[in-house]
């Protein structure tokens, strides 16, 4: 059978993504229709840059979601005749063809790229949320109280920031490190912050209504605590707090370590941003008013200062997801953490770069994918910044 030309490659590429196009059209139609009622999210649709960025980001989110419908081949099955074959090559049995060619092991580049989005979309936003929780929980009191607490925390933050990121990754993300259980201990500490954050948040708001507060906090401790234990503990490893039957989140050691180290690298920067914003906002009149009313310090921090800092924080959140994506790619590029068979973009770029002079497509496809996602996040952040400055 004849190999396919570029026209038919592009056509097949576009039609394979049909669930994504459909979902995108629906999202945009609904959002634009009701954009006046949707607050900052709705305003995003007034700026072209923001819309383009949002479209690119959502494209990858939907791709990750519908990945099973989009892929054309199994991502791990190797066909030896398809090694380094250029895009549009028909498989030896003639039944199907590789849209974007085969990699150095004869796997389908297109399907691996599509499934690679899932790794990023699963890890990057969650890791960024955790980094924000850690940064907020430590940055608010550091900025608000100042003094010794601020000095110590800032010193620790600067300490982590002074580390070259790659050295830190090489020290933390190794099989030997997983053996010592250190990443799990770090997870024990880092994953506690979202819980503390939620409890303090609810307590400071509802302490005047003890019934409601007790119920809410009991709920958080029960559900959050269980999720926390399930996330942290891993049967058979150093931290095995839960019996296997109750451990509903099974995170393999190497994913956990990647997650933890990405949170660890991002948290100090978030801390510094929050601290800076708090130093600025705490001199405002409404904070003084709350202090005069006799509100507690945590109420002021979480319900007066934090909501007023949301503009820069949302923008930074988008940028930081992009940065986390880059970090994940860096880890893959150095062959750290994720298993070599994993279809994530960093690892595929790393595997493909060795044969770049004969077959560039296995490296260039995930490279372009990663670049477009980060670009989309940057454009989205830019659009959000523009729109949030407008009011």
């Amino acid at each position: 059978m004849e190999d396919h030309g570029w026209g038919s490659i592009i056509a097949a590429f576009l039609t394979q993504f049909w669930p994504v196009w459909l979902a995108l059209v629906i999202t945009f139609a609904v959002s634009i229709r009701y954009k006046r009622r949707l607050g900052l999210y709705g305003k995003l649709f007034d700026s072209n840059i923001g819309m383009i960025g949002f479209a690119i980001v959502m494209f990858w989110v939907f791709t990750a979601f519908f990945a099973d419908m989009i892929v054309t081949h199994d991502t791990l099955s190797q066909i030896s005749q398809m090694k380094n074959k250029s895009p549009g090559t028909v498989t030896p049995d003639g039944a199907s063809w590789y849209i974007l060619g085969g990699d150095h092991l004869g796997r389908d580049v297109f399907s691996r790229m599509v499934l690679g989005s899932r790794v990023v979309i699963q890890i990057a936003p969650m890791a960024t949320v955790f980094a924000f929780m850690v940064g907020i929980t430590l940055g608010l009191p550091a900025g608000y109280y100042g003094g010794k607490l601020d000095t110590v925390l800032s010193f620790l933050a600067n300490l982590i920031l002074a580390f070259p990121v790659i050295l830190l990754f090489y020290l933390l993300v190794t099989p030997e490190m997983v053996q010592t259980g250190l990443p799990q201990y770090m997870a024990v500490v880092l994953f506690l912050f979202p819980l503390i954050f939620l409890i303090v948040l609810l307590n400071s708001r509802y302490y005047v209504r003890p019934d409601l507060r007790n119920m809410l906090i009991a709920g958080v401790i029960l559900i959050g605590g269980w999720a926390y234990l399930a996330l942290v503990s891993e049967p058979g490893s150093r931290v095995a707090l839960l019996p296997k039957a109750m451990d509903f989140i099974a995170l393999p050691g190497n994913i956990l370590i990647v997650f933890v180290s990405v949170v660890f690298v991002n948290a100090p920067t978030v801390y510094r941003i929050i601290r800076g914003i708090v130093l600025d906002i705490k001199t405002r009149d409404y904070v003084a008013a709350a202090q005069t009313r006799g509100e507690g310090p945590w109420y002021i921090m979480l319900w007066e200062i934090l909501p007023n800092a949301r503009g820069p924080l949302i923008v930074d959140f988008c940028l930081r997801i992009g940065y986390t994506t880059i970090l994940l790619g860096t880890l893959g590029f150095f062959g750290l953490g994720l298993s070599p068979e994993s279809p994530d973009w960093g690892s595929t770029i790393n595997a493909g770069r060795k044969l770049m002079s004969i077959a560039p497509h296995p490296a260039i496809v995930p490279a372009l994918a990663l670049m477009s996602l980060v670009l989309g996040l940057n454009l989205l952040a830019d659009g959000l910044r523009e729109e949030s400055l407008r009011d």
Binding site: P164, E176, M177, L182, F334, G352, M356
Partner: protein, 348 residues
């Protein structure tokens, strides 16, 4: 000013000590030591042999003591085997143990011995750092002027077509990490697929002699990532200056737009980018590691990867000291330089 400097230097030393201790601790965790023993004495040795190897080579002592040894504040280990031969940290092979110094550490100028390269650490770091220094120099030569020009041109007239185009370009470059832009540049400019064989895809030959052909791609790859960021900062600072009262006064006086930009705005707009450029150095270090690995240029970044990948403790410590000093010194320079450039700021 002097008090400020002293305080900063004290924090720097404290940070460097903490960081090197963390690196030391992490590289000396039991599984890592086992890996070292197995790579040195053979991969099939038993656990007992591992323990005795560690004992014999001074690894079995408490971490704090050994950190002191490395630092040069605790006496170096010595080991006397059954035959009576003395080995030790301070005893170089083939010399008499009696004449060896008691302390040998960083404070005495001894950086240790690399297990991967079989060479003294200070020698390795010196030569590698020189190679990376050349790379960094050319990156700066390319990056700083280009990014400043882009930033000033974009910020000169906010919202114009030129601004939109240049801003999009800057966003695109910041969104492209080095391992992506490197791959794309290699494919476009040096592979046989596209056919533009303008440059070489590796920089190995650049270690002997730099030519435009073998060195441009790595330099461009590192510079691109920084250009976008610095240009955006310059643009932000330029737009702020352009809305200032004295610019409007100058325009109303009848000064031409070109003169306003060149004589009034530019100098004030360049204060902020200075700090950003200085703070870029630590980031560049990151890029250097990726690019040196990608282009196989055996400089400091490449050495760092080799040391980390093989758990070469002494070399890794040396590398991290260099990296930390680079980060902290650039921070200090940016703070001090900022005060000199902007007389309105006083350090107390």
């Amino acid at each position: 000013m002097l008090k400020f400097l002293l305080r900063r230097i004290f924090t720097m030393v404290l940070t460097a000590l903490c960081l090197t201790f963390i690196v030391f601790y992490l590289t000396n965790l039991p599984p890592n030591l086992e890996k070292v023993a197995k790579s040195e004495a053979g991969s099939r040795i038993t656990d007992a042999e591992v323990a005795s190897w560690l004992e014999k080579n001074g690894y079995a002592r408490p971490v704090l003591v050994r950190y002191g040894e490395w630092l040069g504040v605790a006496p170096g280990w010595t080991h006397i085997d059954e035959a009576g031969a003395v080995t030790g940290r301070c005893v170089a092979a083939g010399t008499d143990a009696a004449t060896a110094a008691r302390y040998c550490g960083v404070l005495q100028g001894y950086w240790g011995f690399s297990t991967v390269f079989k060479e003294g650490v200070s020698g390795i770091i010196g030569t590698r750092l020189a190679l990376t220094g050349t790379l960094m120099f050319w990156v700066m030569v390319l990056m700083v002027p280009v990014s400043l020009i882009i930033g000033v041109l974009a910020g000169m007239r906010e919202g114009s077509k030129l601004d939109r185009t240049l801003s999009t370009f800057s966003i695109a470059t910041t969104a492209t990490p080095e391992y992506v832009s490197g791959v794309i540049l290699i494919v476009v400019f040096s592979s046989s697929i596209v056919g533009l064989k303008w440059f070489k895809g590796t920089a190995t030959s650049a270690m002997d002699g730099i030519t435009f052909e073998n060195f441009f791609l790595p330099v461009l790859t590192i510079a691109l990532y920084g250009i976008g960021y610095i240009a955006r900062m310059t643009r932000a600072s330029m737009t702020e200056v352009m809305t200032a009262q004295y610019i409007r006064t100058a325009r109303l006086k009848g000064v031409s737009f070109k003169n306003v930009v060149m004589k009034h705005a530019l100098r004030n707009a360049l204060i902020a980018p200075f700090t950003v450029i200085m703070l870029q150095f630590p980031w560049l270090l990151n890029g250097v590691v990726i690019v040196e690995t990608l282009f196989n240029y055996k400089g400091f970044g490449w050495t760092l990867v080799q040391a980390a990948g093989n758990n070469d403790i002494q070399l890794l410590l040396g590398c991290s000291v260099v990296a930390v000093v680079v980060v902290l010194v650039t921070q200090l320079i940016s703070d001090v330089g900022y005060v000199y450039l902007n007389p309105r700021i006083r350090i107390s």
